[in-house]
C-alpha cells in the first residue's frame, strides 16, 4: 500500500470501446509490441497476426474457426485455448467476466527472414526462362494484378521453390482453364508450403479424409486465405491445387467461407488431390467459385482422391449454381467405376450377387455399388485394354511413356 511502485493495469489491446475487452499479460507484452512494430513497417504476416489477435474482441471468433484449438478448462469458468496465426501461436484465456487475456505469444519475429530462406510458407512468382522455371519471392504476398492470373498451390515435398516450380508445371498444364503454353508465356504465382512430411495420402490417412484438421499446414492456409482475399477483385483468377496442395486450399477456402467472402469470378481445380475432394467442393460452393466441368482429376490408383468421388458428384448435382448435369454425373460415375475403389466395390457386389444375397431387392446403400458395377461391366469389354493402359500410366509413368504411349 505504501510502496512506491506504481500500479500498472494490464494493457488492453482491443475491445476498449466496443466488443469484448482483450488484455495481454506483461510477459507477452514486449512480443506484442514487436509484432505491432513489424506490422506498421508493412510486414503482411505481422498485420494478419495482429488483426487476428484484435479480432478476439468480437467474441471467440467462431467455434468453427479451424485455427482456434480448445485447451484446458479450469475450475471457476476460465478456459484456455490457443490460436494459430502466421509466425505466431497465442495462448489465450477466456475469463469468467467474458473478457480475453493473452497469456503467451510464441512468435517467430523473423518470420519474414524464414520465408526468404524458404523455411516458412510464402507466395512466389514463377517465370519460364531458358527452359527452366525461376521463382521470385513476393514481399507483399499478393497475386499479380493481372486478369486471368493462375495461382498454383503446390504439394510440400518437391524441395526448394525453384525445383517445385519446375516439377509441378506439367500438372498445372492439365487444368481445364489453362495450357502449358499460356503458363510459359505469362508465368504463374506459386504458393509454397515447405514441409518434410507428406500432406494427406494414405500415409497420413487421418488428415487425408479430414483435411481441415491438419494443424501442420494452418500457417500456410492462413497466408493463402489472405492471398485469396486480396485477389478477390482481380478478374478470373484460377486457383490450381496439385497433390497435397488440395489440403492447404481446402483450409484456406474454409477460412474465407467463415468470413462470408465471395470469389465469384474465380475458378478452382484440383489435380490428383491427396485429401478429400468432397470437403473442398463444399467450401468452393460456399465461396461461390466458378467450377468447370471437371473439379478434380484423379488417376485410378489414387485411393484418397477417388474416395469421396460419389459424394462430390452428389454435392455438385445438389448445388444450384454449379453447372453440373445428370449426364456429367453418369459419366463421372462410370469413371469412378474404373478406379481402384470402383473395381473393388464392383468385385464385392459381384460376389454378393453370385452368392445369391442380391436376390433380395437392392437396398439403398448398395445403389452406388451397383452403379459402379454397371460402370465397370460397361468398360470391361472394350475398355479393358484402356484400363490396363491407365494402370500402367499411373503406376509406371516412365515405362508408359517409353513403351506404350501413343501405340494403343
Amino acid at each position: 500500500m505504501f510502496s512506491n511502485e506504481t500500479f500498472t493495469r494490464e494493457l488492453r489491446i482491443a475491445g476498449s470501446t466496443a466488443g469484448k475487452p482483450v488484455t495481454i499479460t506483461p510477459q507477452a507484452e514486449p512480443i506484442y509490441h514487436e509484432l505491432v512494430k513489424k506490422a506498421r513497417k508493412g510486414n503482411y504476416w505481422a498485420q494478419t497476426t495482429v488483426n487476428g489477435l484484435h479480432q478476439l474482441a468480437s467474441g471467440r471468433l467462431h467455434q468453427n474457426n479451424i485455427f482456434i484449438k480448445p485447451g484446458a478448462v479450469h475450475r471457476g469458468g476460465t478456459e484456455e485455448f490457443y490460436v494459430i496465426l502466421p509466425g505466431c501461436k497465442a495462448t489465450v484465456e477466456k475469463l469468467e467476466s467474458d473478457t480475453f487475456r493473452v497469456l503467451y505469444l510464441e512468435a517467430d519475429l523473423d518470420f519474414f527472414e524464414l520465408q526468404k530462406q524458404e523455411i516458412k510458407p510464402g507466395l512466389y512468382s514463377a517465370s519460364h526462362k531458358d527452359d527452366e522455371w525461376k521463382t521470385k519471392f513476393k514481399r507483399n504476398g499478393s497475386v499479380d494484378k493481372i486478369q486471368e492470373r493462375r495461382v498454383a498451390i503446390a504439394d510440400s515435398n518437391y524441395g526448394r521453390v525453384d525445383e517445385t516450380a519446375d516439377a509441378i508445371f506439367e500438372n498445372l498444364s492439365e487444368a481445364p482453364f489453362t495450357t502449358g503454353n499460356t503458363l510459359k508465356r505469362t508465368g504463374y504465382d506459386l504458393h509454397y508450403t515447405p514441409q518434410k512430411e507428406n500432406i494427406g495420402r494414405l500415409q497420413s490417412y487421418r488428415y487425408a479424409i479430414c483435411p481441415l484438421d491438419d494443424e501442420r499446414i494452418h500457417e500456410s492456409a492462413i497466408l493463402l486465405a489472405r492471398t485469396m482475399y486480396n485477389a478477390r477483385k482481380i478478374e478470373g483468377v484460377g486457383w490450381i491445387a496439385e497433390f497435397g496442395g488440395s489440403a492447404v486450399l481446402t483450409q484456406a477456402m474454409k477460412i474465407l467461407a467463415g468470413q462470408n467472402v465471395k470469389l465469384e469470378d474465380h475458378t478452382v481445380y484440383m489435380h490428383r488431390p491427396t485429401t478429400s475432394p468432397n470437403e473442398a467442393i463444399k467450401q468452393a460452393h460456399k465461396l461461390g467459385l466458378q467450377i468447370e466441368r471437371n473439379f478434380s482429376k484423379s488417376d485410378m490408383t489414387d485411393w484418397v482422391g477417388n474416395q469421396s468421388q460419389l459424394k462430390v458428384i452428389v454435392n455438385r448435382l445438389k448445388d444450384a449454381r454449379d453447372n453440373y448435369k445428370w449426364s456429367h454425373a453418369a459419366i463421372d460415375a462410370i469413371t469412378y467405376g474404373k478406379s481402384a475403389q470402383g473395381l473393388a466395390a464392383s468385385g464385392v457386389a459381384a460376389v454378393a450377387y453370385l452368392s445369391g444375397l442380391a436376390g433380395m431387392a437392392i437396398s439403398a446403400p448398395a445403389i452406388p455399388a451397383v452403379l459402379t458395377l454397371v460402370g465397370a461391366v460397361a468398360v470391361s469389354g472394350a475398355g479393358a485394354l484402356k484400363t490396363a493402359n491407365n494402370a500402367t500410366k499411373s503406376i509406371a509413368p516412365k515405362f508408359h511413356n517409353k513403351h506404350i504411349k501413343g501405340r494403343l
Binding site: S127, H128, D131, Y158, K184
Partner: protein
C-alpha cells in the same frame, strides 16, 4: 558404377547433414552426337533420371537439328525481341544420399541454340570480338534487367574461362542469382556453330529436399555434382566435318590476332538494352512500369 543399394531412391530415414549426394556414373555413359546447323557437337551424357518426381526429358528427333525450322521456344527475355531460341536437349540427373535418405538434389541440364536476330550485318560470331559482343548482349537481355527493389538480381559472367580445346571461340562461366537466401548458380558454356547461331550448354543445380534440412552447397555438399558436370563439359567436342567452312575461315582470317578476352568481369547491372544492344530509356520505362 553407382552403388544402387547404398545410394537408392528409397527414403526411409531422415537426413543428417552434412551429406554428399551421389549421382549417375560418368564412366558408363554414352557419347551423344547432335548435328546442329551442320556442325557436329558431341559430348558424353549420362542417362536421364529424374528420380522420385517425374520430369520430362527432351531429346532431338534424329541426329540433325535444323535450327530455324523446329518450333521456336518462348523465352522470357527482355521485351526487345532480339533473340530466338530453340531447345535441343534436356535431361535431369538425380543425386541420392547414402543409405536410404532418398533423393536430395538434381542437375537440370539442357542444350539449346540461339540466334541474335539483329546481329550487325556482315559479321560472324566466329569472330572472337563479335562473339563477345553477342554473349554480352545475350546476358544483358536475359538477366541484366531483373532487379529486386533496385538491386540487381543476377550477377554474370562469374568465373569466365576461355576453352581452347574447341576450334572456335568458346567460353564457360556462371550466372549467380542472389535473391534473399536462395542463391542459385547456373553454369553456361557457349560457342558458335555457324555465322549466326550460338549453342548454349547449360546446367543448374536444384535441391529436392526442403530448406530446413540444409542448403545445397553448404550442408548438402555438391562436390560430386560439380565433378560430374566438369567431366561433361570436358567431353564437349565440335567437328565441322566436310561442310563448307569458308565463313569460319574468313572470320578467323579477319580476326587475325584477336582472341577472346581472358578475363571478363561481371557486367554492370541493372541495364536496359534494345535489340541492337544499346541502352534504351524506352525499354527501361516499359520494364520499370511493368514490374
Amino acid at each position: 558404377m553407382r552403388n544402387f543399394l547404398k545410394y537408392s531412391g528409397l527414403q526411409l530415414r531422415k537426413v543428417e547433414t552434412p551429406v554428399t549426394p551421389v549421382g549417375p556414373d560418368f564412366e558408363s555413359a554414352k557419347r551423344k552426337k547432335i548435328i546442329i546447323d551442320g556442325a557436329q557437337v558431341s559430348l558424353i551424357l549420362p542417362r536421364h533420371d529424374s528420380g522420385r518426381r517425374k520430369k520430362e526429358k527432351l531429346e532431338p528427333k534424329g541426329d540433325h537439328v535444323r535450327v530455324g525450322y523446329s518450333s521456336r521456344n518462348i523465352s522470357n527475355f527482355i521485351k526487345n525481341e532480339a533473340w530466338e531460341s530453340w531447345p535441343i536437349l534436356k535431361r535431369v540427373w538425380a543425386f541420392y544420399g547414402s543409405w536410404f535418405v532418398g533423393q536430395l538434389a538434381n542437375i537440370n541440364f539442357s542444350i539449346s541454340a540461339y540466334r541474335w536476330k539483329f546481329q550487325p550485318e556482315n559479321t560472324s560470331v566466329f569472330h572472337p570480338k563479335i562473339f563477345e559482343l553477342a554473349v554480352t548482349h545475350f546476358l544483358n537481355s536475359s538477366y541484366g534487367y531483373e532487379t529486386d527493389e533496385g538491386v540487381p538480381w543476377h550477377q554474370a559472367p562469374v568465373n569466365w574461362q576461355v576453352i581452347d580445346s574447341l576450334p572456335v571461340p568458346a567460353a564457360k562461366f556462371r550466372v549467380e542469382s542472389k535473391l534473399g537466401y536462395s542463391p542459385s548458380r547456373m553454369q553456361i558454356m557457349q560457342f558458335p556453330v555457324s555465322d549466326k547461331v550460338i549453342v548454349k550448354i547449360q546446367a543448374s543445380f536444384g535441391q529436392t529436399c526442403p530448406a530446413h534440412i540444409g542448403i545445397l552447397g553448404e550442408e548438402i555438399r555438391d562436390e560430386e555434382m560439380q565433378a560430374l558436370l566438369d567431366k561433361v563439359y570436358c567431353s564437349v567436342q565440335l567437328d565441322f566435318g566436310d561442310i563448307d567452312k569458308s565463313g569460319l575461315r574468313n572470320s578467323l582470317q579477319v580476326a587475325g590476332d584477336a582472341t577472346l578476352t581472358k578475363s571478363f568481369a561481371p557486367l554492370k547491372w541493372p541495364v536496359y538494352v534494345d535489340k541492337y544492344g544499346k541502352e534504351s530509356e524506352e525499354i527501361k520505362k516499359m520494364i520499370v512500369s511493368g514490374q
